[in-house]
């Protein structure tokens, strides 16, 4: 076996996963309609003209982009649960592929989905509300880090859930509070105690904050946010793969 083989296996597993997701166009459209809908609803709520548009440009759009990465990544990673329930996971397990390759492949698919979904919303949001981004490299780095950390959460859900319905419930349990407490729709500064502390425990908060800071000209907070997101990524992926490893080697 060549040294690169395990990694190539991962790439193929990721490719196969994404191929299925993009094959069903409905799936992609539906998953993107939700953030687009939220973007419109809340832009009207905060105002799309005059000085109010600043909030939309500075916080709402960056937040929506981060949130879309979250939905994209977690949804994609949850394909593990579907694969298990349909038996197609067995197909991969029966093949000469290491468990690590499977986990790395699934993680890559989740992250790629997160980045792609976020970029679509970035383009739509920016063009509709006239947001101009100064540092596209920094944005890509943050979106990538955020996507990986959300993928980690997705792997934990996939490992814990025994069937798709359970996975949906678990993911909603995590996604919805995160969405509303992650500083996307309501500024953390305006939240009553102890919600700001809760917000600080969520990766979405850091992703929103970082993207928002890039949009408003950048500050040292971006670096700190990246560190937190990186820590989140490592933590959740390690924990998630541990659980997945256990069910794969029962």
């Amino acid at each position: 076996m060549k040294p690169l083989t395990p990694f190539i296996h991962s790439v193929w597993i990721a490719e196969n996963d994404l191929r299925q997701s993009f094959k069903s166009v409905r799936h992609v459209v539906w998953s993107l309609l939700f953030p687009i809908f939220m973007m419109f609803t809340f832009s009207f709520r905060y105002g799309i003209s005059g000085p109010d548009i600043q909030y939309v440009r500075d916080i709402l759009i960056p937040g929506i982009v981060a949130m879309t990465a979250m939905f994209g990544s977690i949804n994609e990673t949850m394909s593990i649960v579907w694969d298990k329930s349909l038996g197609v996971f067995d197909r991969i397990l029966a093949a000469p592929v290491s468990s690590t390759s499977i986990i790395v492949g699934k993680t890559m698919a989740g992250a790629v989905m997160g980045v792609i979904s976020a970029l679509v919303l970035l383009v739509i949001g920016s063009s509709l509300f006239g947001v101009t981004w100064s540092n596209i490299i920094a944005i890509l780095v943050i979106i990538l880090l955020a996507s990986f950390s959300f993928t980690g959460i997705g792997t934990i859900i996939s490992g814990l859930a025994s069937e798709p319905r359970e996975a949906m419930m678990l993911s909603n349990l995590l996604r919805f509070p995160m969405m509303f407490l992650g500083g996307v729709f309501f500024p953390i500064q305006e939240m009553p105690m102890p919600l700001p502390y809760v917000a600080r425990a969520l990766p979405l908060t850091y992703a929103t904050e970082a993207l928002s800071s890039i949009q408003t000209g950048g500050s040292s907070i971006i670096f700190l946010d990246s560190i937190v997101l990186l820590a989140y990524t490592i933590g959740t992926i390690l924990f998630g793969s541990q659980i997945l490893m256990r069910i794969m080697t029962r």
Binding site: M1, T5, H9, W12, I13, N16, R19, Q20, K23, S24, K84, S85, L86, G87, V88, F89, D90, R91, I92, L93, A94, A95, P96, V97, S98, S162, I247, M248, T249, R250
Partner: protein
Amino acid sequence: MDNAIEVRGLTKFFGSLLAVDHVNFEVKGKEIFGLLGPNGAGKTTTIRMICGMLRPTGGTAVIAGFDVFQKPQEVKRRIGLVPDISNLFGELSARVNLEFMGKLYGLDKKTRRERIDQVLELFQLKERQNDLVRYYSKGMHRRLTIAAALIHQPEILVMDEPTSGLDAQTARLVREIIINLNKEGRTILLTTHQIDEADRLAQRVGIIDRGHLIALNTPEQLKNNIQGTRALEIKILNGVDQRRWIPIIKEAEDVDNVFLAEGKIRILSKDLSQIIPNVVTLVDKHGGKIENISVAQPTLEDAFISLTGKSIREEPLSKEEDVRRRMSRSGLR
């Protein structure tokens, strides 16, 4: 020829439930070996362990000379698994499905293309190769599942209930495929809960019940082993449900077993000369008339019933068997 598969003391607990209990058997190179048993007997659990997908609680399995628990990758490379449900990617076409399997088994692009064309041709799926698999019929699903297991040309093919749930015609086709694959020199381990299938396909049969392997021999020998036992078939007149007579006939002296087979009441006994008058009197006493009575050759089903004390079909799962069945499928399903 060396043994293709050697299973020694294979044991699996799911929690406190003993699903497979110290199972020993070997599959010789190039033979068709059938693992016969009712649903929930531990067949799927056994083959999942052999294929390196489930870790046993105890025992070993050596496949093509490799211990599956020490060298799972080597074993997986040499085995093609056909699971009991067709587990293909429904959102992808047949060709893309096979393409993916070829990649996982490390085939290069040229080999992949050749092999895919070859199996699509062999299983008559070429015309529909670019259709999404979810639009396939059950029979096409089954054929594609077998095709996918052959893409890396494994020396050993493991098939879990290869014909279950198929219509008679497709089942026959699948059986032909199995025989041909065996003729090409492939070792085949299959599980089934259909006695006639084991009888027709397998060169040797292992009977598994409640996690135990209770007999292992050629179908002929299994039948011969109960040679002392004779079978009597009767049909009782008046179109009344024949099943109603089973508990009544069971009461007769010297009757070992009574069950329904193809609309007739089949009675197993060591002493037919005694049994015939007994049964006739008993049926008469209960107001029945015997329409037809004949002595039959022992079948594999008779052997199965003599060994396990129960019929393989028409019996609802006991609670324990149901749990056993679900345990072996859960977790990864």
